[in-house]
């Protein structure tokens, strides 16, 4: 690791101020960032830890019924505290990484990193979540902008993620055998005004909505409604763990299973 200054503020304001230093970087749970620092793939001048800010940790239900999760809330807390309010989201959180990773990794860290195989982006996009930062509110549809790319500006901190709670939802994750990240993961969320389907792990452009399935499922919320659909293999990730065609196939299989499990 390259050397850096380490700061651990206890307010959002202090964190935002600390991140104004050139090449400063926010540190969530560090479960992805620290391994990449070890490989010297990043060289921040200063790391600003967000996990000691009490305001950023916790799960609650807002007046409009949305489940609100503090940006520095570890997966283990989401798994436990959202189990009643948004079970599919809690179940997703309960299956990210392994228990030790879930004790440290945070929702804000995951969404800020936007790994193309991460689980949370699928939930956020399928739920039409709002990414709340220290500066603004960003709709999920505008937030995810490709591999490891988001709408966040330099130094902008995710303070909260607000999930409208669907009538029914389910996340199906098919694990890459080595990393146990999603080789392909599909989050299906059924709302009163329609169904949203978000896919992670599969596309070269990162998390995406499978709109054809959304249309079909909005008309007929059953696995059979997908029968005539197919996902093109073009633009799907092709690596040693699976071809683009395989991932495209999995998208359909997992969507069907998610619907069936709703």
């Amino acid at each position: 690791m390259y050397a850096f200054e380490f700061e651990r503020p206890d307010t959002v304001e202090a964190a935002v101020a600390a991140l104004k230093t050139e090449d400063a970087q926010a540190l969530g749970g560090g479960q992805t960032l620290i391994p990449s620092l070890k490989q010297r793939l990043a060289s921040p001048s200063r790391l600003v830890s967000l996990t000691a800010i009490p305001d950023l940790v916790g799960v609650c239900v807002a007046d409009d019924g949305a489940v609100c999760i503090g940006g520095a809330t570890p997966h283990v807390r989401v798994a436990a505290d959202a189990a009643g309010s948004y079970p599919a989201l809690a179940a997703l959180a309960a299956n990210i990484g392994d228990p030790a990773v879930r004790n440290r990794g945070t929702i804000g860290g995951s969404l800020a990193n936007n790994d193309p195989s991460a689980c949370y982006p699928a939930a956020a996009l399928a739920s039409g979540a709002t990414i709340v930062t220290n500066a603004r509110r960003i709709a999920a549809d505008a937030y995810f902008q490709g591999l490891f790319t988001t709408a966040l500006d330099e130094g902008e901190i995710i303070t909260e993620v607000r999930f409208p709670v669907p009538e029914a939802a389910h996340y199906q994750k098919f694990e890459q055998p080595a990393s146990r990240f999603a080789l392909t993961g599909v989050f299906v969320a059924k709302y009163g005004d329609g169904v949203r389907v978000a896919v992670t792990g599969a596309s070269e452009d990162g998390v995406f909505r499978w709109t054809e399935a959304e249309d079909a499922l909005s008309a007929d919320f059953s696995a059979e409604a997908l029968a005539e659909l197919s996902v093109p293999a073009d633009g799907m990730i092709n690596d040693l763990h699976g071809s683009g065609a395989y991932r495209a196939h999995l998208v359909k299989v997992l969507t069907g299973r998610a619907v069936a499990a709703c």
Binding site: R40, A178, S179, D239, L240, Y246, V253
Partner: protein, 787 residues
Amino acid sequence: MPKDHGIGASPKRREDLRFLTGVGRYTDDINLRGQAHVHFLRSDVAHGRLTSVDTTAAAAMPGVVRIFTGADFEGVGGLPCGWQVTDRHGAPMQEPPHPVLAQGKVRHVGDPIAAVVAETREQARDAAEAIEVEIEELPAVVDMKAAVQDGAPKVHDDLTSNLCYDWGFVEDNREAVDKAIREAAHVTTLELVNNRLVANPMEPRVAVGDYAPGTDESTLYTTSQNPHVIRLLMGAFVLGIPEHKLRVVAPDVGGGFGSKIFHYAEEAFCTFAAKQLRRPVKWTSTRSEAFLTDAHGRDHVTRIELALDADNNFTALRTETYANMGAYLSTFAPSVPTWLHGTLMAGNYKTPLIYVNVKAVFTNTVAVDAYRGAGRPEATYQLERVIDKAARELGVDPIALRRQNFVTEFPYATPVAVEYDTGDYNATMDKLSQIADLAGFEARLADSKARGKLRGLGVNCYIEACGIAPSHLVGQLGARAGLYESATVRVNATGGVVVMTGSHSHGQGHETTFPQVIAEMIGIDEDQVEIVHGDTANTPMGMGTYGSRSLAVGGSAMVRAAEKVINKAKKIAAHLLEASEADIELKDGAFSVAGTDKSVAWGDVTLAAYVPHNYPLEEIEPGLEETAFYDPNNFTFPAGAYACEVELDPETGKVTIERFAAADDFGNVVNPMIVSGQVHGGLAQGIGQALLEGAVYDENGQLLSASYMDYAMPRADDVPFYQVDHSCQTPCTHNPLGVKGCGEAGAIGSPPAVVNAVVDALQRAGHDITHIDMPLSPSRVWAAMQG
């Protein structure tokens, strides 16, 4: 009633106490006063000419002690190869030099170009980034068959080609085998890949070099399975340090599986640099570095043909294998696809004619050498897969086909130069049938079907050869080492025993099992016996632990030394009891005179040996300490039968192991608990090979599976509880304990069972699939199902 001590008992492991409380002492736990740290700058291209290595700027970086490059090792020996294979035409293999640091060329990603020694690890790494390296990149050779084509880029410019050797075995059988295959009633042919694996002991390699100027003694602390071998190879061939000035210590070692047999550049570097710099030098591998520097395993591409007569008797077997050596010859690499592979091609069967051809090939990849099983898994896999395929082609039961062709009379001389001393393959198959509940398969199949899943059953046999020996024979076969083992049994004055063994324990539990043997022989408590291993300064010259040899060879040496001790003790006892030596019996820790009630305790005899007041000094020397070197006169031949049941998700191709059963014949068993544990671990590695693991290079020689993010290690939820049994015991006929070796069996016998089961599941579902190459990942299985 199971025994509670001695041979056949399962006492809890004594070494566990330190491992469970965090006070084990692994090499990385060693930090010497004044130690500096080394970081190796490694090639990031697979093949290239080093045109310039400029360390000027780097040398001025903070904390840098000194930077070494290949030029510093001119005049220093290279890493030696310990086995010379002679090819079909009588010529020796091509044997390129292997410098400690690259000279002139880099030949694989990870090849060390420079070594930066600095005050801290991070400073060393900082400075390594400041080294200016110019490499003229050359086309990489990765595919073995392409590597041996005319005009292929050469990994080593001074060799005639990338072909290390073209080995035929038994060459005199070649024509007869060809003829038998031409004339056979049925020939089953299979082409397959034995996937490249990375051993991945959980402890990465570490080396700490130290030098004492006052005595001119060098010490290397290293993660090794065989410290004496490292001392000999490094001292004699690399650095020119005589053994009496070189000590190699392998303390607690966190697993090896073969990858810690070999002598590595980092060991030589740390020892060399410590002497140059007059201060300790430490290197700790990261896991990422381990993927690029630890010797890999397997990586064979094979075509096998099995000929059968009209009655389904095996009549001939012919194989052609390309075996990857990687960029350099690792310590025992040439022996793995030849003498550890060709000699096992008879398997458990009385095939009369066998011919094995192996072409060993250099490529721009990490060196390949022995990994748990080493040659025997490759032999077993192809043989058991082709038999399964033959059974399906002929429409006969695969178990019946095997039984029909079993070797049933022993000793049995195979057509591939080895003699099986004992075995009972029908007995292990019978046992397997019982513990695997083969009779219940149909019901489980129906249950899987009801849940929309495919189910398959795979069964196979294996035989392996452990305790490679004897030395005079392996010398003829090209080994540049002896393959004996040693032990010194030192009895202290108050009766306690210390055994100094050349075997090395890195998970096998020798500190528990070896005392069981001594306790049984003498009749004292096991806690009276201590095992010393892993330090060349206080153990006799030994060959270490690999090839499932510790008990069969090292244990035999210990028994021989203990017998010498007991014989001498009987003389002392005879003197003390005023009886004839011939009448002295040792039982339960006391010497008695046969037919009388006269006896003397073990402790009184041992005390007399060191306080020889009343002692036959004119006949024997004082003291009670003996050493034995044991050189076996044959291999041992463990064998068994394995069964795997898989469930397969037809929508995703994902295979899960539902049941796995292993019935092994290891001869006599000293500690059943530890033997079962060895089998469990081997099974997980074999299942890992079959379903999960694979080291994959791209066409440019970049390792794609270079971390646990892409190299799938078996996890707890990838495997089931196993059913293992080793109650079928045909004791080895030629070692004193009648033991065979159990360390590798699980890894050898399990891959074909898994693949046979998957093929079975797919064929039951109507798929015309006869083979899928390992690892049978979901995507591969799914792709095969798409046709």
